[in-house]
Symmetry: C2
Amino acid sequence: MAVSTESIQRWGEGGHGIPTSLQEFLDDRGMGSVQPRPAVDLAQVAVRASRIPAEELGALTGVYDDLTRLRCSGGFSFIDLCNRRWPGRELPVVDVVLLPRSHDEVRAILDLAAAQQWAVVPFGGGTSVVDGVDVTDRLTVGVAFWQMNTVRQLDPESGEVLVQAGITGPELERWLQARGFTWGHLPQSWERATVGGYAATRSSGQASTGYGRADATVTKMRVATPRGDFLLGKAPATAAGPDLQQVFLGSEGSFGVITEVGLRVRPLPEKKVYEGMLFSTFDAGVRAFQQLAQDRVNADVMRLSDADESAVNLAGSGLSGLKKRAFDRYTALRKVDGGCLAILGWEGPKDVVTARRGHAHKVFRRFGGVGLGSSVGRSWEKSRFAGPYLRDDLLDAGYLVETLETANEWSRLKGTYDAVHAALRGALGLCLIGTHLSHIYPTGASLYFTVITPLADDPVAQWKAAKVAATDALVATDATITHHHSVGRDHAPWLSAEIGESGVELLQVIKAHLDPDGLMNPGVLGLG
Amino acid sequence: MAVSTESIQRWGEGGHGIPTSLQEFLDDRGMGSVQPRPAVDLAQVAVRASRIPAEELGALTGVYDDLTRLRCSGGFSFIDLCNRRWPGRELPVVDVVLLPRSHDEVRAILDLAAAQQWAVVPFGGGTSVVDGVDVTDRLTVGVAFWQMNTVRQLDPESGEVLVQAGITGPELERWLQARGFTWGHLPQSWERATVGGYAATRSSGQASTGYGRADATVTKMRVATPRGDFLLGKAPATAAGPDLQQVFLGSEGSFGVITEVGLRVRPLPEKKVYEGMLFSTFDAGVRAFQQLAQDRVNADVMRLSDADESAVNLAGSGLSGLKKRAFDRYTALRKVDGGCLAILGWEGPKDVVTARRGHAHKVFRRFGGVGLGSSVGRSWEKSRFAGPYLRDDLLDAGYLVETLETANEWSRLKGTYDAVHAALRGALGLCLIGTHLSHIYPTGASLYFTVITPLADDPVAQWKAAKVAATDALVATDATITHHHSVGRDHAPWLSAEIGESGVELLQVIKAHLDPDGLMNPGVLGLG
C-alpha cells in the first residue's frame, strides 16, 4: 500500500486556476502582478535514504518507497508545501512506514521502537498545518493508520460509535449515514484527516458550534504509550478525579498513539436549513452572534466574515449579470452593501429548527441583519472544502497563502482582530486578509484569518516572520495561540505563554513518565 | 472567626421530625418501629489536642478552638455524621485552622507547610459525602476559605465572572443576580459549598442539564501547589495541547489549592417554567428523556423519579383531602396512577422556552406522559434543598439515610439501576430506595439513589457493607463510580476500575511532581 502522489505537492488534482473574482480583487489591491511558481517535478525531490533495514523490523512489514516515506514526514502547512514544491535540498524523511491494523500491532511497534530506540511519528491524514508531522536526525519509523479504519461498534440507543483511530471523515460519515446517524465533524481537512488525528489535535469543524468540537465529542479512548496502555472513558460524565482523556486529547502523538476512539453521534437531522445574512459592519454581526450565544440559541453552523472576506466570497458565489445587479440594489437599499456575510446552518427536529431560527432572525434584525435566503447558504455549503484546492492554484500562480486561527472572549475579540491584522500587514506589507468568526461559545468565539500575498524569494522566511508577529499579537491580546490547529512545532515557542512555565513543566513530567526515552513524535508541544 | 455549631452534628436547625407521608411509607414497608438515636451532647465530643503551637505559625494566625478544628476535619457523609453524633472515641482533627484571604496567603501557607512538613487539608463548605475532608496522624493544618469569598471581576460582555475560591453559592448568586446574571449551579450542598470545592470535586447541580456541570462552567483557574503556581484558562476553547485545567478539576486538593476560579454565567432568564409530568413506568420516562437528549431539546432541569421516590415525593407535596382525591382520579383515568414523576424546568428567552417545551410535550405524549402542571414543579423547586435537613431528622429518629450516584450510557442504565437495587437490598435487607435520573447527556444520564433503613447497632459497618456492594455493582455494569460526588477516600479503592492501573499510576506521577512530600489532602483519590 503506497501513498497517492497527489497529496504530496498539492492537496488535490486542482489546476483550475484562480477564480476571476479573486484575481480581480488581487489586481485591485495592487497584487495582480506575480511570477508563477510551479512545483518542481516530483521525481526531482530527493529524500534521505532509509537507515533501518527491513530485517530489523522482525515480524513487521515496512513500506520503503520514497514517496510514501516523504508523504509520512510532513503535514500540509504552507511551509510543508514549500519544502516539497521547491525543496532545494535532500529532504529528511522517516526511515520506514509501518501500517498496523490494530491496537495490538501498534503496541508491538512501540515495543520494538523502544527496544531499538527509534523515534515514532504517527501519521493520520497528514493534514497538520503547524508542523505536527516532521522528523529529526534520529532513526524514525512512521506509523500510518491506513489499515486501521474500521468501525468497531455502534450503540444506536446511546448514540455512540467506537472506531479505529485511522478512519477518515468520509469513511465514517458514509458508514454512519447508511445507519441513520452523523458525527457532524466537518473541518477543511475532512477529506483526508482521521479521527485519531482529530482527537490528538483537538480539531474543530464547520458545524462545531452545534455538534461540538471533535474533542468534546470523544467519549472513549484507547491509547498505546511506551509506558503501557490506557483505556479511558466510562460514562457520559464522571466526577472520578482528573480527566485523563483530556491529557491525551491534544497530546499530538507526544505521549503515545491513540488507537481507538468512541464518539458521540446524532440521528440524521430531520430538518436542515443553510442560509445567508448580511450585516452592515463586522461589529454588528459580532454583537448579534454574541447575543445568540448568551441566549443559548446557536445555529449549528455560525460563520461571520469581515468585509474583505465577504466581498471575495460573494463575488465568488456565482452571482452575475441581472442577478448581481438585483443583489446590489437589494443590499444598497437595506444599507448592507459592502457588508459582512453570515452563514447560518440549522439542523434538528423541524419544529425546533423553526423556533430557533425565528428567535435568531428577531435578534439579527435588531442588529440590522438582512436575510439573503438559502441559495447563499447552499452555495457556501457546496464549496465548504474548496480552500485547500484553491491554495494549490494560488501557490502555482505565485502567491503565499496561509491561515491562522485563535479564540478569545467576546470582550477581547476586537482587540485581537485588530492586533493580528496590524501584525500581518506589518510583516508582509501588501496583503489580502480575510477573517471570519466561526465557532461560537457562550463566553467568546474563534477568529480565523486567511492571508494572501505575493511570494517572496524566500517564502519560508517570509511566512515565519509573519507568523511570529501574528502569534505575538495573540499573546499580547490574551487570545489563545490556537483554537483548532493545535501546537505542533510551529506554536511550541508560545506554549508557555498559554499555560505558564509550570504548565509546560507538568507536560514534561507526564511525557517523561509515558515516553521515558523521548521517542514519540519528538518536538511537538515543544517536548523532546 | 469560629465555626457555627449547627453544622457539626446536623446540617441545619431542623427538628421538624419526619413528614407524616414519609413515616406512613416507612410504616407500610415494615420499617416503622425504630429506636430514636439522638446525637450525644456536643460538649461530650472529645477531639485530639493541637500539636502545632501558635509560635510555629510565624506571621500567620491560626484558629485553635475545638469545634472549628472538628468542623474542618470532616465532611457531611452519613459516616462523618455518625462520627460526630455518636463518637465513642477521641476524634482526630486538624491541629490548627488557617484562614487565608488571598492566593498569596495560600501560597505562604503551602510554603510554611512544606518547610514544617505539615499535611494540608483544604476546607470549602465541608459538604463532601465521600470522605473528602479527613485527617491522618500526621501534623495537619486545615485551610478554610471563609475569608476568600469575594468576586474579583465581572465581564458582562463575555458572561464571565472571576471569584475567590471560597465564595459560596448563595453569596455568588446574590452578587450576580443583583447585576442581572446567574451561575445556575444548584446542588443540594448549595447553602454551604464553595466554588473552589465545586471545581475540585466536579460537582453537578439540579440545573446542570441546562447550565452545565460545575466543571464545565469553569473558564479559568488559579492554583497554588507545593511545586508552584498555575494560572490556566485563556479563551473559551483552545487546541493548545492537553487541557491542564482538567487535571486540577477533580483533583480534590490532592495536587494543590484552587484559589481563584473563572466561571461562565448567564443573563437571568427572561422566562422560567417548572412543571410536573407523570409517566406510567420509569422505563417510559427514561425513553422520553432519551429521545429529547437525542433531539438536543433538553429542559434545564430534568428529573425523573422511579415509582417509590415518586410516591414519597407526591405524598409529601402537600396534596390532601379533595385535591388529593381529584389528583388520584385524574391520574387513574390517564393510567399513570402510581407512576413516575418527572420535574422539568425551562429557562431562557420566552419564545425559545415555548418552542422547546412544545417539542418536549409532543415527545412526552408519545411516551404516555401526562402533564401535572406547574404547581408540582414549583413545589419541588421550593423544597429543592430540603434533603440534608430531612436527613438530620431521620438520623435522630433512628434511620440510616445515605445517597449514592452514578452515570451510564442510555443502553446500560437499566442494568445499573437493577444491579444497584439488588446490591443495596442484599446488603441492607429491608430498605426504602428512591431513585432518580437527573443529569441528561446526549449519550446517557446519571442515576441517584437515596436509601433509608433502620439503623443497625454499628451504623458505620452497616453502611460500609452496602456501599461496597453498590459500588461493585456500578463497576460490574460499567457505570462510573461517581457522577458528581467525587472520589474522596470512600471511592478510592475503585478508581483503578475506572481509569485503569496505568491511569492511577499517571495520577501518582503528577502528584509526586506537584506535591513531592505528599502533604496535600493525603488519601483522597487514593494518593499518598
